[in-house]
């Protein structure tokens, strides 16, 4: 058991709350920096994908997990970022500038998509974002002069004022730097007044308003930040896969992103990355297991869908707090052993209509 003796308010505020944090996260950073040496090129590419999806997951987690606004069309922002990056890099704009533009343009689109959020809630907002997702996908397909339409668009390499990231390793480091910056920005935001405002909006809008939180401003801000992060992730995604087409940003991709944050654990930064690991790792795991399955099942086109569906149902039924929630329970069990009680993480049931019983 670890006993934390607090002598200073700073201890509650700072990022690494105790020695253990410093040790483990330091080790993680070390491993990430050493990854190109430790992993094969294929696995390094997968890790790069995890970082990219992690950034997008951060954005969606900020919106859905922390502010409570659900966006079922988030792939649209991914696409805006990706195409913006493709277009500007094609025009010779340097990488950092194009990245910033991708983020800003996605944020602008996010503000537009967030406009219904100011008037509608819950499922209505979900349907509004779903609709935007479809419309944006169609715009990608029709606006052929800019996006190349259904024929697709190829993307150049990362070019930072002359230095070209032409290998898997160099691109991995670019992604790593961007990921670290985005994650730190998000964590800082969440331990500040802005982050508390987001959580207040999620839990009780009326009392948040009474505390002086301007709902319209913070909801729009949440959408803008979430879209900007998705856009930055999209820009890196464009450089990673080198070829874009509109059907990469369809409803299936949006649902994959939602799957990622739900399975990772809604309402936690770790959840975004755990979800990304899951999303990239599951197809690999399926391929690995395929050899052990009977022929009929292994070769079936619907295998991936069945497994995704089963995992999603399983998590919602048995572990609604997601992967991070399960990790918290395990860690608490180990820390408090043998005093851990089964009901420690029980979540209260809540209904929209107040006179429901079960």
């Amino acid at each position: 058991m670890r006993f934390i003796f607090k002598t200073d308010y700073d201890q509650d505020i700072r990022l690494a709350k105790h020695g253990g944090h410093v040790f483990w996260y330091g080790l993680l950073c070390l491993l990430l920096v050493a990854a190109p040496v430790l992993l094969s090129e294929y696995l390094l590419a997968q890790l790069t994908f995890i970082l990219i999806y992690g950034i997008v997951g951060l954005g969606l987690m900020l919106l859905a997990g922390f502010t409570g606004l659900f966006s079922i069309g988030h792939a649209a922002f991914l696409g805006v970022g990706a195409y913006t990056q493709a277009v500007f890099t094609g025009m010779g704009v340097p990488f950092p500038v194009a990245l910033a533009l991708a983020g800003l343009l996605s944020a602008a689109v996010g503000v537009v998509v967030g406009l219904p959020a100011l008037r509608v809630k819950g499922i209505y907002l979900g349907i509004a974002t779903l609709s935007f997702g479809f419309i944006v996908e169609e715009v990608f397909a029709r606006w052929e002069s800019v996006t190349g339409g259904n024929a697709g668009k190829s993307v150049g390499q990362v070019n930072i004022f002359g230095w070209v990231a032409d290998s898997g390793t160099s691109f991995y480091f670019v992604c790593l730097v961007v990921t670290v910056i985005c994650t730190l920005a998000c964590i800082n935001l969440l331990r500040s007044a802005t982050g508390r405002a987001f959580v207040a909006i999620r839990d009780s809008e009326i009392s948040a308003q009474s505390m002086g939180i301007h709902l319209a401003y913070y909801k729009t801000l949440s959408f803008a930040l979430s879209a900007a992060l998705a856009g930055i992730g999209g820009a890196l995604y464009a450089h990673q896969i080198r070829f874009l087409s509109p059907d990469q940003f369809n409803i299936i991709q949006s649902i994959d992103l939602l799957l990622m944050v739900v399975i990772g654990g809604l309402g936690s930064i770790h959840g975004a990355f755990l979800g990304a690991i899951f999303l990239i790792g599951l197809p690999q795991a399926i391929s690995a297991v395929k050899d052990f399955l009977p022929e009929a099942i292994a070769q079936a086109p619907g295998l991936k869908a069945v497994i995704y569906g089963a995992v999603l149902i399983g998590f919602v039924l048995f572990e609604p707090m997601g992967l991070y929630g399960r990790w918290l329970k395990i860690r608490t069990y180990l820390q408090l052993f043998p005093f851990y009680r089964k009901g420690m993480f029980k979540r209260q049931k809540s209904f929209q209509k107040s006179d429901r019983l079960k």
Binding site: Y9, D10, D12, I13, A185, N188, L189, R191, S192, A193, T194, G195, R196, A197, V199, A200, D203, S204, I206, S207, A208, Q209, S210, M211, G212, I213, H214, L215, L221, G267, Q348, S350
Partner: protein, 270 residues
């Protein structure tokens, strides 16, 4: 001559066919404890919701002595109320369930936290200092209301009595000039109600905050209030000192009960 902090003139609000508040006028003087009493459905909480701008009146105005002078409260948007120095608690406790008590109180401090988006993302030194200052202020409120034990507990697991106190604490963290308490003693046992009475007196005497409250517990009303307004069916029945209102025949008939029951209350108030 004490100045009027808040004054409502001819306030009316209509929801569809229901006239919830009808031509209500009153004023709250600085430094006093002013109580609204009346049966359920009289419109007391609706008056609160009008002051915190959750509803907009269909007629009438509310004037308030804000930091820059007298202003028309009915022209202000709901999120500006806290920065004007008006805080409120809710009848059905609107706390942030999945956050700790400390977190809830820090949100109460939001309007005084400062900083903009960029400084928050970079967590500059001034943001850090503002956070520590906020924490110190919140800790003072925690000490005032004896919430130290519950500081890091999640609100969802706390008993009802403690939640009511947390709700009060959160309102105090907004550094209010005027505190609106909606039924502070409902659901509390005798001991907790006594604590609440002492706290309301401390809030008035030590912190110098004006209190406007809705209450049903007549002993609490008599103990802490300076003036009382009795409402029934959206209209004003009587206004004056607690004694005057409690002996008003109209109020007795509508709310308190017949003359025979008054003897016990007179013993209390005496």
């Amino acid at each position: 001559m004490t100045t009027s902090l808040l004054s409502a003139q001819n306030l009316s609000v209509r929801f569809g066919g229901v006239l919830a508040v009808n031509n209500v006028s009153f004023d709250v003087r600085e430094g006093e404890v002013f109580t609204l009493i009346g049966p359920n459905g009289a419109g007391k909480t609706t008056v609160f919701n009008l002051i915190s701008r959750i509803y907009t009146p269909t007629a009438g105005t509310i004037d308030y002595a804000g930091p820059g002078g007298m202003l028309r409260l009915t022209d202000q948007p709901p999120h500006k109320i806290a920065s004007l120095g008006i805080a409120r608690t809710f009848q059905n406790i609107e706390l942030f369930e999945h956050a700790t008590v400390l977190h809830n109180l820090l949100v109460g401090h939001h309007t005084h936290s400062g900083g903009n988006l960029l400084s928050h993302m970079l967590y500059t030194r001034s943001v850090r200092q503002a956070e520590i200052a906020a924490r110190e202020e919140v800790e003072r409120v925690i000490d005032f209301l004896d919430l130290q034990h519950h500081r890091d507990s999640y609100v969802a697991g706390l008993p009802y009595g403690v939640r009511k106190v947390v709700e009060l604490a959160r309102a105090l963290c907004t550094r209010p000039k005027l505190l609106l308490l909606d039924e502070p003693s409902s659901g509390l046992n005798v001991e907790e109600t006594d604590d609440m009475a002492f706290w309301i007196q401390d809030i008035k005497n030590e912190l110098g905050i004006t209190v406007l409250m809705v209450e049903h517990d007549m002993s609490l009303v008599s103990k802490v209030s300076d003036r009382v307004l009795a409402m029934n069916q959206g209209e004003v029945l009587a206004m004056g000192t607690p004694r005057e209102v409690q002996t008003d025949p109209g109020v007795i008939e509508a709310y308190l009960g017949s003359v025979d029951d008054m003897s016990s209350l007179r013993r209390e108030a005496a």
